[in-house]
Symmetry: C2
Subunit: 259 residues, 2 copies
Amino acid sequence: MNVLIVFAHPEAHSLNGSLKDFSVQQLKNAGHQVQVSDLYAMNWKAQLDAADTQAPLVGEYFHASLDSRFAYEHQQQAADITAEQEKLRWADAVIFQFPLWWFSMPAIMKGWFDRVYACGFAYGVGEHNESRWGERYGEGNLAGKRAMLVVTTGGWESHYSPRGINGPIDDLLFPIQHGMLFYPGFSVLPPVVLYQVQKAADARFASWCDTLATRLDTLATCEPIAFRRQNGGDYVIPALTLREDIAPGQSGFGVHQKR
Amino acid sequence: MNVLIVFAHPEAHSLNGSLKDFSVQQLKNAGHQVQVSDLYAMNWKAQLDAADTQAPLVGEYFHASLDSRFAYEHQQQAADITAEQEKLRWADAVIFQFPLWWFSMPAIMKGWFDRVYACGFAYGVGEHNESRWGERYGEGNLAGKRAMLVVTTGGWESHYSPRGINGPIDDLLFPIQHGMLFYPGFSVLPPVVLYQVQKAADARFASWCDTLATRLDTLATCEPIAFRRQNGGDYVIPALTLREDIAPGQSGFGVHQKR
């Protein structure tokens, strides 16, 4: 397979840097082609703004989605955005690796999504009518590709457990896994989460690599999270609420996953 | 009151820009002192990295929390970080206004939290022992201050309803409201969320301003969200799981709020 690793950590010698290097080697040893977008090393521009289009503005003022769509459709995006989109087209699987900062990804990676996910590429795709509400949540330009998060936390596993104070890790990752990955079409694999990584990191490194290796070795075969497809019949269109007869009386992130 | 508005939108002439201007005027008219951190206008640096400290590195390599703590404690932080911390100390209330991009805040605002929330200032505060696990989730350096989100979305309100496909808006905002605001001590007010803002924006602008004005007028008096304090007796320390006799059998973000 062709595997892209999108990586966000400011220090190459960190645990995250070492885990990323291990992943590259493990994937290459298994015969995969690997590219890495090391966002800090690339000095990735995080903020979406008018410099992201080389075309004249569509309207009087910069408009994030209108100007993004125009630039995308007319091959006038900033070169760094086009390059990342090309990597996504090339990839069969994409791994997003980052330390959990403030219960989400580092700003530099959020800026990768904000900018690379152009209108017409990752959203605003497909027709909106009575039976389909665009191509998203299971359909779209990234359909057929796999995505997986590799996340490290300083906090304890119990703090991220179903009744832990930080909130359950699956719910904290839902806006990313469902909202950023499933949305443009990715099949989303269960995440690799390594907890409390500042404790005894040297002693535990080999065990973390084992965990990671197991998941990398099954990147092509592992069963994705069973998020419900938007246009598969489970949702009322255009309200996009779950049909009343499915998971009746329940609500929250969990209902959007088949159990 | 002293009110700080932290604002993230790339275009001053946008709806978000107009709403921000309205808020400033409304607050001033009511006699409040107002400062605005307009992150795009300030060309705010989004990525946390070794340039955030002016001190020599604590270890051989850059370490986000160790070097952040050292720089904070020795007055050697980058000047833009210090300036924002000073604004937070000055403020009685802080409003964070942004468009919801990929179910979270724009990268430039995430980078405000990543960098301004230094170790020793917003996390890593207080002692950890058998009855207290640091000062956080209701305690900390920002305790006594109020915070409120003002968020715009392109999507419909039903898409963010309890069974809407995007997930309930309260759950999408939990990592921000609970994880970034309640964590360092803020009392978090219910958010102002304006939906589907790309539809008939001119015709609806006055109504949005009315909604906003009502909330700004009650900034000092409105009841905060009743998140549970970490050290208030509801959690088992150090596992930090909710006590078994509270909301028995329930899990998810909702259990961390008193009903």
